[in-house]
Symmetry: C2
Subunit: 347 residues, 2 copies
C-alpha cells in the first residue's frame, strides 16, 4: 500500500456508521487529502473533525462522485441504488453498507474472515452484511470447522444505533424525559424504546418474520456458501446505544468437547472469547462498544439437544457490524489486487 | 367465600412484589382488617396506603405470624426458610414467592391454569414459580394440547423489578445520571444496567448455566409433570422496569397449522394473543405492565425446524409472574377447599 494512493469517498459521512468510518480511517492515519465526506444536500457545508483538521461535507451528486477508488455508502437503500451505479461507471469500487444489493447474485457479500475470497468476483459493488449477520457468521464459520451445522436459532438484543443517529438521539431524549418525569416523545420507532424492548426490527413479511430476520437467514447462507442452512431469528430492539448482542443455539452433526469449541472460537480471527462467569466476565454491549472484536461467552452445552451448543455474543454494530467490516473489505480487495486497475492511481 | 373470612399476612410487603400483592388485594376489595403488612425490622412502623386507609408495617417475628390463614412470603430465601415453618406450625398456609422450597418434593409448585390440582397435596407450603417460568409453562401447556413437546429454547429479556425495588431504584438513578452527563453508580448489579444488557441473572453454576436458567428447566418440568422436558434457557437482564419478555422456539412431535396454534393459545386461560404485525401489534414489556395476562405474539413457523414454532411473549413479572399468581393459588386452594381446616375461621 505504500506505493498506492487510494482516494476514498464516504457517502453518509454524517450518519452513525459514516462517523465511525471516518474515525477508523483517522486511526489508521489515512491522509485527509484522500478522504472525502459526502452526504445529502442538508448536510452540505458542515465540517467534520478529522485528525488535526476538518473535512467539509460535500453533497453527493454524480459530479462529486468523480475520481474515487473506493466509495463507502452508508445511507438509505434509495441512496445506494441511485449513486452506486454512478460510482461503478466512473471506475470506482462501491462498498455498500445497505441491503440494496446484498442478495444480488453478481454482488459479493463479504465478511473477510469468512469469505474474503469472494471479493475477487465483484463487478464494482461489494456489500457488507447486516450488522447482526456479521458477528454470527464469524462464530458459525468457526464452529463448522468442528462439524456440520444442522440448525441455528438466535434471539437478538440490538442497539438503537443500528437504526441510525436519529434513533440514538431519540433514546437519549426519551431517557432524559423519563428522568425529569416528562412523557417521552415517540418518532423514530413505533413505540417508546427507552425502558422498553420492541420485537420489531425492519418491516414484517407475510410469514410473520421481519425483513431483518430473513436477512439473518439469507445473508448467512450466502456468506457461508450454504444454501440449505437452517436458521431462525427473532430480532429485538433494546434500549442500548451501541452494541448488538445475540443469544444463540447451534446444533452440529456431532457432539463436540467444550474445550474444542473454545479453542476453535479463540483461534478464529476477529473473535475473542470472554467467558469466565465465576469472575463475572461475559460479553456485554457496554464492553463491546469501541472494540473491533466479536466477543463470545456463556459457552455451554445446550441442555435441550445432545449435539447442541449455546452461547452469547456482543459486537460493536457500528465497527465490525458496519464501518470496520467495510474497511476490512477494502483491505482484502487491495491485498488481493482486486480493485479495478483503472481506478488505482500510482503515486 | 362470602361466609369465610381469610386473614392474610404479606411478608415483604414493602418490596416490589409485596406492594403489588397489596394493590391486587385492594382491587379485590379485601378488607383492610384482614390484611397485615409484614417486613423486616428496618421497615417497622412505616405506613403503606391501602384502599381508603393505611396499613402499619409490622416486623416479621414468630409472634406477629400468629393467626393467619394465608401468609404470602416475598423476600429472601433466608426469610422464607426462617418463617415459613413457623407459619405452618401455627396452622397457616404459606404461599412462597422465593426459590427456597420450589423443588422440594413435598411442596407443590403451582400455576393454577396449568396444575391447579397440585394444591391438593400441600403440607402447609405452596411455592410459586420463578417469574420467567410462569408465562412460559402456560404457553407450553397450551401447545402440548396439539402435540408432545420435544424441545424448547428460550432467551429472556428480564426487567429489573425481578431483582427487587432496589434494582428499580438503581435503573432510575443510573438513567438520571446518564441524562445529566454524570457517571452511573453501580451497586445492585455487577455492571451498569442502564443502556446495557447483562447475560447474567442469579449466580453461575459449573456447567456454564446460571441458577435462573436451571430454574426455568427444572420448574417447568415439575409444573408440567414432564421430567424429561428438554429446555435450554439464556436469561438476560435488560434496562426495563417492569415486564419480562421471552423469545421462544418450541419443537413439537408433529407439524401443526398456525391457525390451530393461535386457537390453542387464545383458548388458554390467562393467555392473550397480541399478534397483528401489519398493524404494529405485538407484546412488549411496556404494554404488559399492569396487565394480568401473558401476552403472546410474533407467532410463526420456525424456519429452522419442520415441526417448530417460534413466538414471543411479554408478562408483568410482578403480577402474573409473582403476586397475581400467588393470589390465584390462594383462590384455587379456597375453591378446592384445601386450606388447612384448622386455619379457616368461619365468620
Amino acid at each position: 500500500m505504500s506505493e498506492t494512493r487510494i482516494r476514498i469517498g464516504i457517502v453518509g459521512a454524517t450518519g452513525a456508521v459514516g462517523r465511525v468510518a471516518l474515525s477508523l480511517l483517522e486511526e489508521r492515519g489515512w491522509p485527509a487529502s484522500d478522504v472525502v465526506a459526502l452526504a445529502s444536500a442538508r448536510s452540505k457545508g458542515k465540517w467534520l473533525p478529522y485528525a488535526d483538521t476538518e473535512l467539509e461535507v460535500v453533497e453527493t451528486t454524480p459530479e462529486t462522485l468523480e475520481g474515487f477508488d473506493v466509495v463507502f455508502i452508508s445511507a438509505s437503500s434509495a441512496v445506494s441504488r441511485e449513486f452506486a451505479p454512478i460510482v461503478v461507471e466512473k471506475g470506482g469500487l462501491v462498498i455498500d453498507d445497505g441491503s440494496a444489493f446484498r442478495m444480488e447474485p453478481e454482488v459479493p457479500l463479504v465478511v473477510p474472515e469468512v469469505n474474503g475470497g469472494d471479493v475477487l468476483w465483484h463487478r464494482g459493488i461489494i456489500s457488507i452484511p447486516n450488522c447482526t449477520t456479521t458477528p454470527l457468521v464469524m462464530v458459525l464459520d468457526a464452529l463448522r470447522q468442528l462439524g456440520a451445522i444442522e440448525r441455528v436459532t438466535v434471539a437478538t438484543y440490538q442497539a438503537v444505533s443500528g437504526t441510525g443517529a436519529a434513533a440514538v438521539a431519540e433514546l437519549n431524549e426519551q431517557t432524559a424525559a423519563i428522568a425529569r418525569g416528562a412523557s417521552p416523545q415517540v418518532a423514530v420507532y413505533p413505540y417508546q424504546i427507552a425502558m422498553n424492548v420492541l420485537p420489531h426490527v425492519d418491516s414484517f413479511k407475510d410469514d410473520g418474520y421481519t425483513v431483518e430476520e430473513h436477512k439473518m437467514t439469507n445473508e448467512s447462507r450466502k456468506i457461508l456458501h450454504d444454501d440449505g442452512l437452517r436458521l431462525s431469528a427473532t430480532c429485538v430492539r433494546v434500549p442500548v446505544p451501541v452494541g448488538h448482542s445475540e443469544a444463540v443455539h447451534v446444533d452440529l452433526d456431532r457432539s463436540i468437547e467444550e474445550s474444542d469449541i473454545r479453542a476453535a472460537l479463540n483461534a478464529f480471527p476477529g473473535v475473542t472469547v470472554v467467558d469466565d462467569p465465576q469472575r463475572t466476565l461475559y460479553p456485554m454491549p457496554h464492553t463491546a462498544e469501541g472494540k473491533d472484536e466479536v466477543l463470545v461467552g456463556r459457552i455451554r452445552r445446550d441442555m435441550s439437544s445432545p449435539r447442541g451448543i449455546a452461547f452469547w455474543l456482543s459486537c460493536d454494530n457500528l465497527r465490525k457490524g458496519a464501518a470496520l467490516n467495510a474497511l476490512q473489505i477494502m483491505d482484502e480487495v487491495i491485498r488481493r489486487d482486486a480493485l479495478s486497475p483503472a481506478a488505482t492511481h500510482k503515486a
